[in-house]
């Protein structure tokens, strides 16, 4: 965001709160920055919904950049498309859930839930603010799906319609199951504790034998659902790992559970003792709690998107000059398609019209449109800027230059998981040690007293049960996941934290990752600019939304804006306006009327002409992010660094100067090259972390051990990845990596802690001295210490690294 100090003096748009420039529109003593905002206000006030503006100040989103053409929703009339999108339909009403990224404040909720006041055919609507979703029920006979979407778009809430919405809202069922298991375990554990309490304080004698027996039997009954339902997932996981001839953390847990349960049954039914049923319940309850803690999800983020989620669902096809809207799956080679302003090209095609301006920001991260001439191939993923163009489809959407990546093996199989979680590595050794100790205890005592031998054997298994061990990992990683999320690095799951700690190679994409559009360097060549000319320029570029205009606008800084006449922006060409009788043009070489072609190796040229006289040009280069050099410096000693770029190599010198010599540069990399480069690194035993942004990095992100997608807006586009990082915190990558490493140390420390407890417990157990009281104290105490230790230490480390602050917002 650019800060305008003089913004306060300007009138703010009543709808969106942006400063109103010359295009200010006044209505009922209210000012609007553009027609779009005024239109939204009118629609709302006509329907008695103006409380929208009372709930929040400037609740709307600026409509200035929105294109008001709703033809792009034509595909919603297709029944196939409708069937895919609707949650439910019968002959009276239909239900649909939309994802609306724009939902951001209380007013949004209020307005969207009062939709039926604007259109009476809407039955009801319900907003889920966190997920940014709205479920709408409507009379499908009176209002079509397209009309509904257009209505939403008109009031500034255009839904994002994607193929991935196919299955509607897929609430993760496993999540609910885990909560149910936890609730059952909690209920049983609490009651068992109650019935076991007299036992601890020898009060059972006072109550009499009848009560003691009853309490024990009640405990058995309550333990059944815990053992046979709540702990289910541990049995499956342990069994699966044994089948693969591995020993994971769940194997010793299951061993402990089984030993505890059988021993307690034997105690209760044959020795009339209390057993350890309450400890068993507590153990499973805490374990499940750790699991829940680990399952933090970022509901609005999607990590597993493929190209289908980005491409339009349908496209306008021309058959004998007749326009028809077809879903892209029905597109075939040779079809002629019509792509309008701001529409995405779904398939590699050849341009039929004279020229087109394609914005490939989606693919490469570079947002300045590229102009294409007739007959040139335009790759899928580009966005047309300007007048509608006709294209002939060359390849099916699923087989394009970029989408071919998704057919690559790297997307077929699971990520190369060479890095085993720390807990699994330890659990193997742990299990064998515990078994060895328990068997030796058994043999030692069996010469003296067989019943004592059995007791020692089971006691070791019970007390050594790695509950604290098993809890240290989920609580450390779960908490880290939250801390990363607060720092705007959103990880897909906790496994990524561990992987991040173990990477030794970092691979960066250049465009959009190390360079940033907002850090452009601008050189002006030509006649020197007077203050008046600069004011004039400001007037021209400040109204345009073109990325190059924005950069020149920033370069000019804050200055007064001159009043110009006949302002006109020709899409893909430039801007034209009249000032004191003279025509001022800024834009491409042809547009400004510059005679000969300038040869530049990189960047873009913008020409300025006044009164048909070219007075100079701007040379605009996308610059490195300010933080990039220092970030590279911080990383270069501890990591092997690589840089992949799809561009030519002429920038190498300046990059090398800024970024240092320890980085490996690779230019002219196609998306497939990038993927292969990462696969090569893996093959050479490197653990690589890839940071990239565009669709062209999708393959490399997938092939890397950890793929991090950079995005300017977290809820916007990002390719499939393990993590999504907000571009503003990119400079914190060294801290993030250091924090991930610190996590490993914390887990190791907490392992030591729980080993210490185990030493005490086991040393008592081998002597056959384990009493229910010691067991009841030791087990929860060790779990709680570990949980407290991990949570406190992760927060402390994060505080030290500057990832969180003490002040709560």
């Amino acid at each position: 965001m650019i800060n305008h100090p003089n913004l306060e003096s300007l009138t703010k748009c009543f709808h969106c709160g942006e400063a109103c420039t010359e295009s200010k529109i006044d209505l009922e003593e209210k000012s609007f920055c553009c027609k779009g905002c005024k239109l939204v206000y009118e629609v709302l006030s006509e329907n008695g919904l103006s409380s929208y503006y009372d709930l929040e100040h400037f609740p709307g989103e600026s409509q200035r950049l929105k294109n008001s053409k709703f033809q792009k929703f034509d595909f919603l009339d297709d029944t196939d498309v409708q069937n895919q999108l609707l949650d439910f339909r019968n002959y009276i009403e239909s239900h649909i859930t939309f994802f609306i990224p724009n939902i951001h404040c209380a007013s949004c909720i209020w307005l969207l839930e009062n939709l039926m006041q604007i259109n009476s055919h809407v039955i009801s609507s319900r907003v889920d603010f966190i997920k940014k979703k709205v479920q709408i029920k409507f009379h499908s006979n009176s209002i079509t799906l397209k009309e509904l979407v257009v209505l939403l778009a008109t009031i500034g809430y255009e839904p994002k319609i994607k193929f991935s919405d196919e299955g509607g809202t897929s609430v993760p069922t496993t999540d609910k199951k885990l909560i149910t298991q936890l609730a059952v375990a909690g209920f049983c554990f609490g009651n068992m504790m109650l019935f076991s309490l007299p036992e601890y304080f020898s009060e059972s004698k006072l109550l009499g034998e009848g009560f003691k027996g009853l309490f024990n039997y009640l405990n058995v009954i309550l333990a059944l659902p815990v053992v046979f339902y709540s702990a289910n997932s541990y049995y499956f996981s342990a069994w699966n790992s044994l089948k693969q001839k591995k020993v994971n953390m769940d194997v010793p847990i299951v061993l402990g559970i089984v030993a505890l349960f059988l021993y307690s049954l034997w105690e209760i039914f044959f020795s009339q003792n209390a057993g350890f049923m309450d400890s068993l319940g507590g153990l499973i309850f805490f374990l499940l709690l750790g699991k829940v803690y680990q399952q933090k999800t970022f509901a609005t983020l999607e990590f597993d998107r493929d190209y289908k989620s980005y491409f339009p669902m349908a496209v306008t096809k021309l058959v004998q000059d007749q326009e028809s809207v077809v879903p892209i799956s029905k597109l075939s080679v040779g079809d002629v398609i019509l792509i309008r302003d701001q529409e995405l090209i779904p398939a590699d095609s050849v341009l039929l019209g004279q020229s087109a301006n394609i914005d490939y920001s989606f693919v490469t991260g570079e947002e300045i449109p590229v102009s294409k001439k007739k007959g040139e191939v335009i790759y899928a993923g580009g966005r047309q800027v300007g007048d509608p163009v006709l294209l002939t489809v060359q390849k099916l959407p699923s087989q394009g230059y970029l989408t071919d990546l998704w057919n690559h093996d790297a997307f077929e199989k699971e990520k190369p998981g060479q890095l085993e979680p720390l807990a699994n590595k330890i659990s193997g050794a742990f299990t064998w040690t515990v078994l060895a100790i328990s068997f030796s205890a058994f043999f030692y005592w069996s010469f003296e007293d067989l019943s004592l031998a059995v007791k020692a054997f089971t006691s070791v298994l019970i007390v050594a049960c790695p509950c604290a061990l098993a809890m240290s990992t989920p609580f450390t990683l779960g908490n880290s996941l939250r801390i990363f999320g607060k720092g705007k690095l959103f990880l897909k799951n906790v496994a990524v934290v561990e992987k991040m700690a173990q990477v030794d190679t970092l691979v960066f994409d250049k465009t959009g990752t190390l360079t940033s559009p907002s850090n452009a360097t601008i050189n002006y060549c030509g006649d020197s600019l007077t203050e008046e000319t600069k004011d004039l320029l400001k007037a021209l570029v400040s109204k345009s939304t073109h990325p190059l205009s924005n950069r020149i606008n920033q370069w000019l800084g804050n200055r007064s804006i001159l009043k110009v006449e006949a302002y006109k922006e020709v899409k893909g060409e430039g801007i034209e306006a009249f000032y004191s009788g003279e025509c001022v043009r800024i834009g491409s070489q042809d547009f400004a009327g510059f005679g000969h072609q300038l040869k530049i190796s990189e960047g873009n040229l913008v020409y300025l002409s006044i009164g048909n006289q070219v007075i100079g040009y701007f040379h605009i280069l996308s610059g490195l992010r300010e933080s990039a050099p220092s970030m590279i410096r911080a990383l270069e000693n501890s990591y092997e660094l690589h840089l992949l770029s799809g561009d030519q190599s002429h920038e190498q010198l300046s990059l090398r100067k800024n970024l240092g010599s320890k980085i490996n540069f690779n230019f002219n990399q196609s998306p497939l090259d990038k993927l292969k480069y990462l696969q090569n690194l893996e093959r050479n035993g490197k653990h690589a972390l890839m940071i990239g942004d565009g669709l062209n990095d999708a393959g490399a992100l997938q092939a890397s051990e950890v793929g991090i997608a950079v995005t300017e807006h977290v809820s916007h586009f990002s390719p499939a990845s393990d993590a999504i990082i907000d571009s503003t915190v990119l400079a914190k990558i060294p801290e993030f990596l250091a924090f991930a490493k610190a996590n490993r140390t914390i887990i190791k420390c907490s392992f030591l802690l729980s080993f210490a407890y185990n030493m005490v417990g086991v040393s008592l157990a081998v002597q056959g001295l384990l009493s229910p009281l010691i067991c009841a104290v030791l087990m929860p105490l060790s779990s709680i210490t570990v949980v407290v230790f991990t949570t406190v230490s992760t927060n402390l480390v994060a505080l030290k690294k500057g990832l969180i602050t003490l002040k709560k917002d």
Binding site: S51, Y53, D54, L55, A106, I179, N191, F211, L214
Partner: protein, 62 residues
Amino acid sequence: MEVIFLLIAISLIMAATFLYLFFKAMKDGQFDDDFTPSVRILFDSQKKKVKKDQPTKTKSYE
């Protein structure tokens, strides 16, 4: 002391009822969205609102 038998039965039944209610609430989707209802409850429940002469611009949720 025999009254304890009764008390235990009551306490178990009560706890089980709470567990059942929790499951029911979860199935109904009570825990799916824990933010929107907190905002929704603050809206005035006007069905058909005629244009206000003086919009009160004091309310804000910050």
